[in-house]
Amino acid sequence: MPTTFDLTITVNGTRYERSVEPRTLLSDFLRHNLGLTGTHVGCEHGVCGACSVLMDGQPVRSCLMFAVQAHGHEITTVEGLGTRDELHPIQQAFQEAHGLQCGFCTPGILTTVKAFLEQNPNPSEEEIREALSGNLCRCTGYQHIIEAVELAAEKMRG
C-alpha cells in the first residue's frame, strides 16, 4: 500500500481529519473524500477554473494542488457561501442576472468572485473581465456573469 498522510483541514468552517495518498488532488479530496461535490472538475490542468476554491481566502485551482498541501489551511467551497433558502448576495445576483446556464463552471466562478469583491468592492467592467479570465464558461458568453458581478458588488456595498 502506498504511504498515506494524515491531514487536518478546515473546510467551510468544519474541521476534518483524513488520511490521504500524497498524490490525491485537492479537487478529488473535496469531492470524493469529503463528499463536497459542489466543486467541479473541468480540465485538471489549471485552465478552466471550474475547480476554483478559496484557500485562506485566496482563490486557487484545487486541481493544481495536492490535498496534503492544504494541511492546516482553511478552504472555502461553494457549499460555504449561502444556502438554498438563504443565498449569499453573490448567489442572489447570479440568479437575478441569469449568470449561469448549465451551472457547471458556476461554483468556481462564485468563489473567485467572492475573493475578488472582497479586494475590490467597486470594480469596473474591465476589472471584472480580468478577474474572470481564469474561469471558462461555455454557456453564457460571460455577459450575464459580468452583470451578475456588478449586481453582486452593488448588493454587497449595501
Partner: protein
Amino acid sequence: MKPAPFEYFAPASTDEALSLLAEHGYDAKVLAGGQSLIPMMNFRLVQPSILVDLNNIAELAYIREGDDGGLRIGAMTRHRQVETSPLAAERAPLIHVAMSKIAYPQVRTRGTFGGSVSHADPSAELPALSLALGGKFRLRSQRGERWVAAEDFFVSLFTTVLEPDELLVEASIPPMPPRSGWSLQEVARRPHDFALMGVAAVVTLNEKGVCDGARLVFISAGDRPIAAERAAESLKGQAPSSKVMEEAAEIASMQEIDPSSDIHATAEFRRHLANVLTRRALEQAFQRAAETKQEG
C-alpha cells in the same frame, strides 16, 4: 488525468529541503507553486518518484529592498504578493506590470517567483524580465551558495545551471540607472495565454538624451529568454529616432532571435511580431526614459 504515485516531503526549512535534495538528487523534483509542474503530472508527462514541497518554508517568501536600492525576492514569494506589493511597483515596475499578464488570478495566488524562474520556460515572463533588468539569483546547496547572473542562468528549454541538489532561494533585481525607461510588449492569442512573442526593453539615456545603454530580451523567441545584444548595441550612442529603433528591430528579429513554429504561430510570423513589438517597446521605453529625465 491523475498523477502517478510519488513519495512526498514537505520540509519546513531551507536547510531541510537542501538535505533532501542532497540525498535524492535527480530522483527528486522540487514543488514550488506547482502551477506548471502539477498539470504535467496530471497528464502523466512527468512522473517524479519524489516530491520536495517548498510550500511550508516560510523563510523563502518575502519582498525586501536590496542594499543596492533594488529588490530582493524570496523564491517562494507568490506572484500575487509581487502584484500587490507597493515596493515592487516602485523598485521594479517592469516586473510589477508583468504580473497581471501571468496566467490567471487563481494561478497567481499559488505560482512563485523562484518556481517560475527555475522552470525556465522560454515563453514565461519572469525569466526574460530578470534578464532584461540584469538580475541575479542566489543558489544554495549543502555544498554552499553561489550567485548566478540571469544571463548565465538559463541554458535551454526548461534547463538552467541549477544542479540537482541545488535550490534557487532568492532573486536580486537591481534598480534601473537614472534616466531609464522600460516597456513590456506582448502578443498573445488571449491576454493570459503564453505570448506568441514578447519583448522587454530597458533603455537608459545620458544627460544629452542619447542612448547610453539598452537591453532587449525576447519571450517565446528561442529555447530560453533571448537577449538581443547586437540590436541593443546598435542603439548605443544614438539619439532615439524611429530610424534607429527600426534598425534595432530588424537586427533583433531577423538575426538574433530563433523562434520556433508551433500550431499558434510560424517562426516567420513570430519574427514579424518581434519586429513590430521591438519598435513599440523601444518607443515606449525611450518615451519613459525621456519623461524621467524631465522629472529628474
